[in-house]
């Protein structure tokens, strides 16, 4: 980057006179700027790279603490899949719980955000205050005892549905507020025009507005995916049956280093659990960033 700025400066010398600092040969400012940012990027990447390398190291290398493997061993993934079928079962639990939560929360947030912005609604202010208020209150922690009671009374403890229902609320307030921010960017004239053309409130929502908030939906999916995929506290509290456990509880309760769970093997499980999120994000980041800037950060 520093190189490109200096080369462009040599082509157009006038520009350097007006904007760049006096020393023209090396752009120290640019080097310092990019160097510092790259340092922070390395801070982020190195721990993740370490665990990725750990999952393909030989067991001997894992115990000596070398960063780059001296001896590669790619069998740990196969070991987990073949010898530890219960892990795949737990992974299935996580997938079911996460997909259900994401779909339900998105439906709630899309309909709710639409109603709060474009429909006549008495008590709108009350609802908004409650939603915003719940963000400033340790809701997740305080409600735990009562959620345990509700799920016990409904016979939903140790079931996956029993996790999904409270999971929907984990990001519900945030999601509704994100969608409200997105719908507020759409001018009421578009809604009026749709009404003129004979759309009822549902058709306006489904045919006219939904395509306009696509980027917001990407933000919703990613935010809710991350929360549900990694939720620990409720899963730890409501589930005590091994076969209903989700991956975060399994990972957190497995002690690495001994017997079947040598570090590279548990690291392989770790990579299997975290990469889907990163891949989805890498694919959807363009819309995610757009969504964030279009209104998701404006609530």
């Amino acid at each position: 980057m520093a190189a490109t700025t200096t080369s462009s400066a040599t082509i157009r010398p006038q520009a350097t006179v007006s904007t760049a600092p006096p020393n023209r040969s090396i752009n120290w400012r640019g080097i310092l700027l990019h160097g510092t940012i790259i340092f922070f990027c390395l801070l982020i990447i190195l721990p993740l790279l370490w665990v990725l390398l750990l999952s393909v190291k030989s067991i001997r290398d894992a115990n000596t603490g070398t960063f780059w493997p001296r001896e590669w061993d790619f069998t740990h993934y196969a070991y987990v899949i073949q010898e530890r079928p219960e892990i795949l079962y737990n992974m299935g639990n996580s997938i079911f719980v996460t997909l259900s939560t994401v779909v339900l929360t998105c439906i709630c947030a899309l309909l709710g955000g639409y109603a709060l912005v474009h429909l006549k609604l008495r008590g709108r202010f009350l609802i908004l205050s409650l939603l915003v208020g719940s963000l400033f209150f340790p809701t997740r922690l305080i409600s735990l005892i009562a959620i345990f009671e509700i799920q016990s009374d409904l016979g939903l403890r140790n079931t996956l549905i029993g996790l999904v229902l409270p999971y929907v609320t984990l990001n519900l307030a945030t999601s509704v507020l994100i969608m409200r921010g997105m719908f507020e960017q759409i001018s009421p004239e578009i809604v009026d025009a749709a009404h003129m053309d004979g759309c009822n409130t549902w058709q306006t929502f489904w045919k006219v507005l939904l395509p306009l908030v696509k980027n917001g939906i990407v933000v919703l999916v990613i935010v809710n995916f991350v929360t549900a995929w990694g939720e620990y506290l409720l899963a730890y509290t409501l589930i005590d049956d091994q076969s209903v456990r989700t991956m975060p509880v399994v990972l957190a309760s497995t002690f690495g280093g001994l017997g079947a769970w040598q570090y590279p093997r548990i690291a392989a499980v770790y990579i299997m659990v975290t990469t889907p999120g990163i891949i989805v994000f890498a694919y959807a980041q363009r819309w995610y960033m757009k969504g964030l800037l279009e209104g998701a950060l404006k609530f």
């Binding site: 309909l111 997740r140 305080i142």
Partner: protein
């Protein structure tokens, strides 16, 4: 006759019900969100508030009795509660400045990158931890801090030669470093997301304003204090309040890093509440509920103070 009825028609019960149904259809859109919000957030909080005035024990056979403020009276003088709140407060003090100022610094740097492609590459790399769920981050850092295989100690010993294998720091467990170690991890986790927050705020500052100030001879430091910081106050307020709330109520980290040992620095009021409610003796859920509400009350007072400090003085 007709003259009397027609103006009245607007307010006839039939018309009113029709209007209500029409307006009610708006409520129908809000209904799914409300069902979940009330069922699993509003009601549980009220229910826990009610429980906090009873001697409810999950495993006891006898009915719960209303005991007034007894739980609160006991909790206020309970040394474990005091210690737990202080430990959570210590963590918050370490974590909060780091999680505000490090991303602010990074955001100011990334904001200066002229090449949009490189800038967005930086943003994507910084955002990677934001798409890894919290508990996975905690598991990863538990390994990073590990005394035997952890790369952090390996780096300190073999990379920097600051320690040897006998005096290397013990990061987790019964160690003074446990809370700072968790704070460092939390700052790391939040860098990307908070940087994006600040970048959105920086984008709203008109570039002409900065250029004009430069022409008037303002240096970078003055630009930061006079223009950037005041313009970011609203975003800072939101972040400080939200992160304060999440920091004081942290529990997953302590459950994953520590255990139910009261002498550990990670045994805070949240862990105490969980321990009482779901593991100790008869499961003293009434008492645990009172501790939860005391913690929440302390937090709400501080949040009100923060709003007062950051209030708009213009």
């Amino acid at each position: 006759m007709a003259n009397v009825i027609v103006p009245d028609n607007h307010n006839s019960p039939f018309e009113r019900i029709k209007r209500e149904i029409k307006h009610g259809s708006s409520w129908l859109y809000l209904l799914p969100a409300l069902v979940f919000f009330i069922g699993y957030q509003v009601y549980p909080i009220i229910r826990v508030f009610v429980l906090s005035f009873t001697d409810y024990r999950l495993l006891a056979a006898d009915e719960a009795q209303f005991i007034g403020l007894q739980n609160y009276a006991n909790a206020v003088v309970d040394p474990v509660v005091h210690q737990g709140l202080l430990r959570a407060g210590y963590f918050t003090l370490l974590f909060l400045p780091g999680t505000i100022f490090v991303p602010l610094f990074v955001a100011i740097l990334v904001d200066r990158v002229k090449n949009q492609r490189i800038a967005s590459l930086y943003k994507i790399i910084l955002l990677i931890p934001a798409v890894i769920p919290g508990p996975m981050i905690f598991v990863l850092w538990k390994w990073l801090y590990d005394f035997e295989i952890g790369p952090i100690n390996t780096f300190l010993i073999e990379g920097l030669h600051l320690f040897n294998y006998r005096n290397a720091p013990q990061w987790l467990g019964k160690s003074n470093l446990a809370i700072p170690a968790i704070a460092i991890m939390e700052v790391w986790w939040g860098i990307g997301y908070h940087t994006i927050f600040f970048l959105a705020g920086l984008a709203t500052i008109p570039k002409e304003m900065i250029d004009a100030a430069r022409v008037d001879g303002a240096n970078e430091w003055q630009l930061f204090w006079r223009i950037t910081l005041p313009r970011l106050r609203a975003i800072m307020l939101i972040l400080v309040v939200l992160r304060f709330g999440s920091a004081m109520a942290v529990i997953d980290e302590y459950l994953i890093f520590g255990s139910f040992d009261r002498t550990l620095p990670t045994y805070t009021w949240t862990v105490y509440m969980w321990h009482l409610a779901f593991q100790l003796g008869d499961r003293l859920q009434g008492y645990a509920a009172a501790i939860g509400w005391i913690g929440a009350g302390v937090m709400l007072v501080v949040v009100a103070l923060l709003f007062y400090i950051f209030r708009n003085r213009d």
